[in-house]
Symmetry: C2
Subunit: 334 residues, 2 copies
Amino acid sequence: MHRLRKPYLLFLGDVKDNLTAKTAFGLRDWCADDVAGEWSLPGCEVTLGLPRLTPQEAQRRGAGSIVVGIAPTGGKLPPHWVAELKAAAESGLDVVSGLHTRLSSFPDLVQAASRSGARLIDVRHNEESYGAASGRKRTGKRVLTVGTDCALGKKYTALALAKNLISRGVAASFRATGQTGIMISGEGIAMDAVIADFVAGAAERLSPDNAPEHWDVIEGQGSLFHPAYAGVTLGLLHGSQPDAIVLCHDPSRRTIDEYPDYPIPDLQVAIDDYLRAGRLTNPAIRCVGLSINSSSLSDAEVEEYFRRLTRDLGLPVCDPVRTGVDELVSALLR
Amino acid sequence: MHRLRKPYLLFLGDVKDNLTAKTAFGLRDWCADDVAGEWSLPGCEVTLGLPRLTPQEAQRRGAGSIVVGIAPTGGKLPPHWVAELKAAAESGLDVVSGLHTRLSSFPDLVQAASRSGARLIDVRHNEESYGAASGRKRTGKRVLTVGTDCALGKKYTALALAKNLISRGVAASFRATGQTGIMISGEGIAMDAVIADFVAGAAERLSPDNAPEHWDVIEGQGSLFHPAYAGVTLGLLHGSQPDAIVLCHDPSRRTIDEYPDYPIPDLQVAIDDYLRAGRLTNPAIRCVGLSINSSSLSDAEVEEYFRRLTRDLGLPVCDPVRTGVDELVSALLR
């Protein structure tokens, strides 16, 4: 389990476009209170609109970590960023990265961190070994976001559900299963990097026994309908033992992203398949509604589409960005 | 992908009982032509009935590897066996182990191997990185053994199917997905040790494009009904894209082994669930029959039980040990 030290200094390197800095924007939006400022190299053309602080300044103001909030093509850390991260480590900031390149593969950085006592944390990787799942029913309540595909709003939906629950005074925790989620939450387990036999076990560890009325809102991964990642999705579903699922969907997709031979399933089929699979570890599992990424639709189209879905599926339908998740949370608490 | 050098010298350490030496017996029985002899330490009370050869003698007679064919409680390599393995490595034999303890954690052994050029191979571990599955349909035919639970004959059934196919003159390859299977076959991938995201990708790699009439007989892992391991089972199923499955079952089990709260599913439900899941990557998947581990039943009980299953499920039913797998292979080739 990764546990990060907040607040963060968000590092942008010398990126040229906002999309590559997606993670940094996500952190700014979802954990604004935990972000001390931003820092970048000469030539950077992106700003988050936050105070610019050097790593040394950020450290003096109480920051715990510098976070590489960038997803360059190929997932590699540009070597010319390393000097700046080394300076941050020397000042005592933990260095947090979600890239493929391991921070520990830079001897300079390792030395600097060991001198100052800073930690180098690769949230995409998992050095820890998790045991096999026990299958034991845990106390507390759990909701898992699931999807018809990858990358269509499972993290965003889970964050919105947790925020809404807390705003109603319900005890709730967002449980992160991917790198950006872990950075936002400050802790979590990158499920896709766990050894295959221990995915369900890691999911059990992520949402341990809790107070009877406490909700763990667990970020889903992958999709049961994805030819490469369904195994991770199933292990996470089984280990999470969710009482409720929310199905996330993007109506503009006809096929699985980057897998044109694999159609997006019918929504009722998707719900049925998730519930059938989830019953293994929680026979009381139910679907409380749909979270639609409707960015491709006009207001009129959304209204018509949501009305049709509600009628056909008999469930509340929301778009976290457009409508909020109030109806989903009300269904969850019913 | 592990690739081992045969023939093997089977090392028994100083074990006291046949059960702990289960892997060594399996190798003797399933790849007799690839086994040069056995070797053990003073105090060993087990013999495989093979010629006793020192590592040096075995190497001189052409052996490629010394294989630790032992599964001690806890999966640890007893330190007092290391000197003998070191001598084997010095003589030029590769050292192959299926234990949790990594051979590379013994500096003496690493040094000896590096001097002689021998390899240290931990078949339980996977240093290799596999990519994500492509989902692309491959040429050739594939059959996967699946189960109502773990450890009830999926490897044994796959080995029996491959042997039977070959005896009929059908081109076939056993594809190993667990440590004992890898030792028997001499190659394979330990699926449970792969990073979760890449299980289906590793399964694609394990059974690549082949001749149209060639059968890959793939060793199944885990069970879709297992609260800890179903994710591995699903990833292996999706990546294997099997044209056919054989369901393995032990009628003496009422609940999943070591999970008394998890019932063994109804056989028709199990078949339907495997086929439903398998259709994602191969819509033509079919179940060709059942492989029953009937060791708990009398001859009369088996006859009655098999008759009932055949009638209820409309499929051939075999026990590889008791009846052979002729009927399953005939169904496969129809």
